[in-house]
C-alpha cells in the first residue's frame, strides 16, 4: 500500500540557515508525533508537508500528490498552525464556517457548529475571536482544521495554551482521529505530552531526523544514553577514585577539591551505589546535579549517535 506521506531526502534552507537536512520517512494512517526541541525544524517540516513552503531539495508526496503543485490536496489536509493569529473580527462560528465554505463543505454553518462542539466551544457564542483566551483560540484552530473531515491532519504544537482538562480532551480527540483512519501528525517539544499520544514518533533535532519508531523504543534509547552528573563531596578526588575503581562510572573529572563531574551509563544504578561508596570512602556528599537531563541534551545525544 502506498504510504500516506512520503518524504525523501528533504532539505530546506532559508538563506544560510539550514532548517531541514536530508530528512526521509514515510507515514501511514494513525497518529505520529514529531518530537524535537524549539527551533529543531518541526514547524518547517510541517509547513513543507502542507505546501506552505517549497522544499529546497528532495521530494514530498502526500496522498500521492505534491503539495503546492496539486491544489486538490489542499482540500484533503487540515492544519493547525503554530501561530496564534486568527481573523479577530469574526466570531468562532463565522471563522469556522468560512473554512467550511472554502473547503466546499455542504451546509457550512451546521458543519462549523459540529466542529466547534467537538472542541467544546459554544457555536452560539457571538463574541469576536479577539476576546478569546489563548486556549479557546487554539481550539478554534483545531475546529477549522477538522471542519471538512480531512484525511490528513497536521497540528503544530496544538496543546499549547490549553488547560490540563482540555489537553486530555484534545489528546483523546487526536487518538480517535487516528483510530478512525486519519493520518494525524502532531508536533511537540514536550516528551511527556508525546507519550500520551501513544503513537509512533519522529524525533527531529538540528534539522535532522534523529530517531523514529515506537514511542517506547525511543524512550528506552533516551534512557540508555550516558548521563553526566555533578557530585559535590567533601573529598572529590577520593570519591572519584573509588567510583572509577568500582566501575560505577565510565569517566570522572575532578573540578575542584569538592566537586567532581561523572559519566555513567546507568543512572539508576549510580544513584543506588553512590551513598555506599561515599560512606566507605569517608566522604560526605553535598549535592548531586544531573547536567544533561533536559530534552535538548537528549536530542543532542540522539543526533550525535546517527
Amino acid at each position: 500500500m502506498t504510504p500516506v506521506v512520503e518524504v525523501d531526502g528533504l532539505s530546506k534552507w532559508f538563506g544560510p540557515v539550514v532548517a531541514l537536512s536530508e530528512v526521509s520517512f514515510t507515514l501511514e494512517r494513525g497518529v505520529t508525533a514529531i518530537l524535537g526541541p524549539n527551533g529543531a525544524g518541526k514547524s518547517t517540516l510541517l509547513r513543507v508537508l502542507c505546501g506552505l513552503t517549497a522544499p529546497s531539495r528532495g521530494s514530498v508526496r502526500v496522498l500521492g500528490m505534491t503539495p503546492r503543485r496539486d491544489l486538490a490536496l489542499n482540500g484533503r489536509i487540515g492544519i493547525v498552525p503554530q501561530q496564534e493569529a486568527l481573523f479577530d473580527s469574526l466570531t468562532a462560528r463565522a471563522f469556522v464556517s468560512l473554512a467550511a465554505e472554502l473547503e466546499h463543505v455542504a451546509g457550512p454553518g451546521a458543519a462549523a457548529a459540529r466542529a466547534l462542539e467537538t472542541v467544546d466551544l459554544d457555536p452560539g457564542d457571538d463574541r469576536p475571536l479577539r476576546t478569546y483566551s489563548k486556549g479557546m483560540r487554539q481550539r478554534v484552530k483545531v475546529a477549522q482544521a477538522l471542519v471538512s473531515d480531512p484525511e490528513v491532519v497536521v497540528l503544530d504544537e496544538p496543546l499549547e495554551g490549553l488547560d490540563p482538562r482540555q489537553r486530555v480532551r484534545m489528546i483523546s480527540l487526536f487518538r480517535d482521529l487516528g483510530a478512525a483512519g486519519r493520518t494525524v501528525l502532531v508536533s511537540s517539544h514536550v516528551l511527556d505530552e508525546v507519550e500520551r499520544f501513544g503513537s509512533r514518533v519522529l524525533v527531529i533535532a538540528q534539522g535532522r531526523l534523529a530517531a523514529e519508531g515506537d514511542f517506547h523504543a525511543i524512550r528506552e534509547l533516551m534512557d540508555d544514553r550516558p548521563h553526566r552528573l555533578r557530585v559535590g563531596a567533601t573529598d572529590s578526588r577520593a570519591l572519584a577514585a573509588d567510583l572509577l575503581a568500582e566501575g560505577i562510572v565510565v569517566g570522572a573529572w575532578v573540578q575542584t577539591p569538592t566537586t567532581v563531574i561523572v559519566d555513567t551509563v546507568d543512572a539508576a544504578a549510580f544513584r543506588r551505589a553512590l551513598p555506599r561508596v561515599a560512606r566507605d570512602a569517608g566522604v560526605r556528599l553535598t549535592e548531586i546535579v544531573p547536567l544533561d537531563d533536559d530534552l535538548e541534551s537528549v536530542f543532542r545525544y540522539l543526533v550525535g549517535r546517527r
Binding site: L71, L98, L102
Partner: protein, 234 residues
C-alpha cells in the same frame, strides 16, 4: 469568492484606516468648497489644478495604497493567510476577491470624495465626470499594483509612498520615459481631456490614458496570482 470578498473587506477596514482616510477625504471636499468660493482670476483652472493634485495626486493613490496593500498584505504579515491559502480555492479567485475588496473600499474613500470635491468647486459637470473617470481608472491601476506589493514586500505602505510621493511627485515630471511609468500622468491626461482643460506636460493620448492603467491592472493581477502560488506562507 463572495465570502472571501466579505472577509477581506472586513479585515482591511480597521478603525484607524477608516478615520484617517475619511479625514483626508473630508479635507478634500472642504478645500473643493473653498476653491469654488474663492475670488481668483481663473477659477476653472484652479479647480482643475486642485482635482489633479489633491484628488488624483494624493487622495486616490493613498486610499488605493492603504487598502490595496492591506488586502493580501495584512493576512500575509499577521500569518492568517494560511487559512485562505491552504484551501482548495484557485489562487486567481483569492487575488480577484482581494482586488474587488480593495476597490470596494477605495472607491468610496478615494473616488467618491474626489468627485464630490470636484462638484464642490462649482466648475461644471465635465470636471466632475473627468474626476470620476480619471480616479476610477487610476484607483484600478494603483490598487492592483499595491495589492501585489502588499503580498510580496514587507513595509509595502512605505514603498508605496515612495512611489506615489517621490516617483510620481518628482521623478515622473522629469521626462517622457519616467512619465510613462506613472499612473498619475495617465489619470491627469484623462481628466484634462474630459474636463476640457489644458493637458499637462508629458500628457498621454486619451486611448493610452485609459488602456495603459487598465493594462497595468490586468498584468498586476496576473503577476500577483503567480506570486501567490509561489509565496512562502507563514
Amino acid at each position: 469568492m463572495a465570502s472571501l470578498f466579505r472577509l477581506i473587506v472586513r479585515t482591511q477596514m480597521t478603525r484607524g484606516r477608516v478615520v484617517a482616510l475619511a479625514a483626508v477625504a473630508a479635507i478634500g471636499i472642504l478645500i473643493g468648497f473653498a476653491v469654488g468660493r474663492s475670488d481668483i482670476a481663473d477659477p476653472a483652472r484652479a479647480a482643475y489644478g486642485f482635482v489633479a493634485s489633491y484628488g488624483l495626486g494624493l487622495l486616490v493613490p493613498i486610499t488605493a495604497l492603504v487598502f490595496g496593500s492591506a488586502a493580501l498584505g495584512d493576512p500575509a504579515e499577521d500569518a492568517t493567510l494560511v487559512y485562505l491559502w491552504l484551501r482548495p480555492v484557485a489562487r486567481w479567485k483569492i487575488v480577484v476577491a482581494s482586488e474587488l475588496a480593495a476597490l470596494a473600499v477605495a472607491v468610496p474613500f478615494g473616488v467618491v470624495p474626489t468627485a464630490v470635491a470636484a462638484a464642490a468647486t462649482g466648475q461644471g459637470a465635465d470636471l466632475v465626470l473627468g474626476a470620476t473617470l480619471a480616479s476610477l481608472v487610476a484607483v484600478a491601476a494603483y490598487s492592483t499594483l499595491f495589492l501585489g506589493l502588499g503580498l510580496l514586500v514587507r513595509r509595502a505602505l512605505a514603498w508605496g509612498l515612495v512611489y506615489v510621493l517621490i516617483w510620481e511627485g518628482f521623478v515622473a515630471r522629469s521626462g517622457t520615459a519616467a512619465a510613462r511609468l506613472s499612473i498619475l500622468v495617465y489619470a491627469r491626461s484623462l481628466l484634462a481631456h474630459v474636463a476640457h482643460a489644458a493637458p499637462p506636460r508629458l500628457a498621454a493620448a486619451v486611448p493610452t490614458s485609459v488602456i495603459t492603467p487598465l493594462a497595468v491592472a490586468a498584468v498586476a493581477l496576473v503577476l500577483t496570482t503567480s506570486a501567490l502560488r509561489r509565496v512562502d506562507v507563514k
